[in-house]
């Protein structure tokens, strides 16, 4: 009986040793926690209009999103809007949109172009809201410009078209930058959310988070 238990103990220790050696390497390979003074600095380098909120906010939420992805729309409509209303507008959170158009979506890169053009002239939130709200329409026929024309005034639409043409290279550079960043972070799905507080960045479970749980986590971070 004693021999039996010693064998079990030895197996337990061996198993624990194997876990200690193998699993940290596995879990550390994705979304490693960032602890550095540069953590916040590296979060910017985006079009300023794609950032919503105060630069001095204690929490930064970075969302890698695809305008044509249904889960991104759901996350935006059910969670992010409330985060904007309750945390961004009160200076607690800086929200950064990152473009991560997936190749499987025919029009998502074009949608990202329009959103980035809107960011250049300060209309990002309106265009983002319209793109997600009318995703079913332009996602089916690709007529993004028509959808945006329906949401913006003629004058604003003209400004948007001009911005899309004038800042074309900056827009492409911004999308490429966000895609590079996403690939560096080994993003596999959208939306993927990173939350930075006190110089420490955490990747949230992929696919979006409901508002009540996001609220709990943000309140916990604010209490720290």
């Amino acid at each position: 009986m004693k021999r039996h238990h010693s064998f079990a103990l030895a197996a337990f220790l061996a198993g624990a040793a194997i876990l200690a050696v193998t699993i940290p390497a596995r879990s550390g390979s994705r979304g490693a926690t960032v602890r550095s003074a540069q953590a916040r600095a590296s979060l910017s380098a985006s079009l300023p209009g794609k950032e919503i909120g105060s630069k001095d906010a204690p929490i930064v939420i970075e969302v890698f999103s695809d305008f044509e992805c249904p889960a991104c729309r759901s996350f935006y409509e059910t969670t992010l809007r409330q985060v904007i209303d309750n945390y961004v507008s009160t200076g607690k959170v800086l929200l950064i949109h990152r473009d991560f158009p997936l190749q499987m979506h025919a029009y998502s890169r074009e949608a990202a172009r329009w959103a980035d053009a809107a960011a250049e002239i300060g209309y990002f939130q309106t265009v983002e809201s319209t793109l997600f709200g009318k995703q079913d329409v332009w996602g089916a026929n690709g007529k993004i410009e028509d959808v945006l024309s329906g949401a913006l005034s003629a004058a604003d639409m003209k400004k948007l078209r001009e911005a899309e043409s004038k800042y074309s290279s900056q827009i492409e550079a911004s999308i490429a930058h966000d895609l590079d960043l996403g690939n560096q972070k080994h993003i596999l799905q959208t939306p993927t959310v990173f939350v930075t507080a006190k110089g420490k960045t955490e990747e949230l479970p992929g696919g979006g988070v409901s508002y009540p749980l996001m609220k709990q986590y943000l309140d916990y971070l604010l209490r720290q």
Partner: protein
């Protein structure tokens, strides 16, 4: 006629020994898997999350869209520790029949939830081994294999106990 009982009495201890060895391997493998599952819920993104693991795990459980938030939070708090306890008990071999039965029941619940999400085409993370493992056919196959192993360990433990009781 006289040869048969003798042959049986010679073969029986050998078969029992093999059964015990298989049971030992099975319960250690199952125990290590449960401990690993608990570990990846408490240690991820490169560090320990003993103070805030429940937020991340709750987000994963909630994505299954099966439970109210209060139940999600409660489950997120206790499940990693339950898995750790179950894994430890399985590896130690204490109360093996009940531990393996509990592991089988737990795996049945996990598989049912995963299967439901899979059939509903929910593009979510499994939450089985860390926060960023996508739910798919492979994760279902893996958990089904674990259930088969767990059932085999439970059955083996009950059989050995029954045999010992007869002796």
């Amino acid at each position: 006629m006289t040869g048969t009982p003798a042959a049986t009495s010679q073969a029986s201890p050998r078969a029992g020994g093999l059964g015990r060895r298989l049971l030992l391997i099975g319960r250690i493998a199952l125990g290590v898997t449960f401990v690993a599952a608990a570990y990846t819920k408490l240690h991820f993104n490169g560090e320990w999350h003993l103070g805030d693991y429940q937020f991340f795990f709750a987000m994963t459980i909630d994505s299954y869209k099966m439970l109210p938030i209060a139940a999600v939070e409660w489950l997120a708090r206790i499940l990693p520790w339950l898995e750790l306890l179950l894994g430890g008990v399985l590896m130690a071999g204490a109360g093996l029949r009940w531990a393996a039965s509990a592991a089988s029941a737990l795996l049945c619940v996990f598989i049912a939830a995963m299967l439901r999400a899979y059939l509903l085409h929910l593009e979510i993370n499994c939450g089985c081994f860390g926060p960023n493992e996508k739910l798919g056919g492979l994760s279902l196959l893996r958990d089904s294999s674990l259930l088969a192993l767990s059932l085999a360990v439970a059955a083996g433990a009950f059989l050995i106990r029954k045999r010992e009781a007869k002796v």
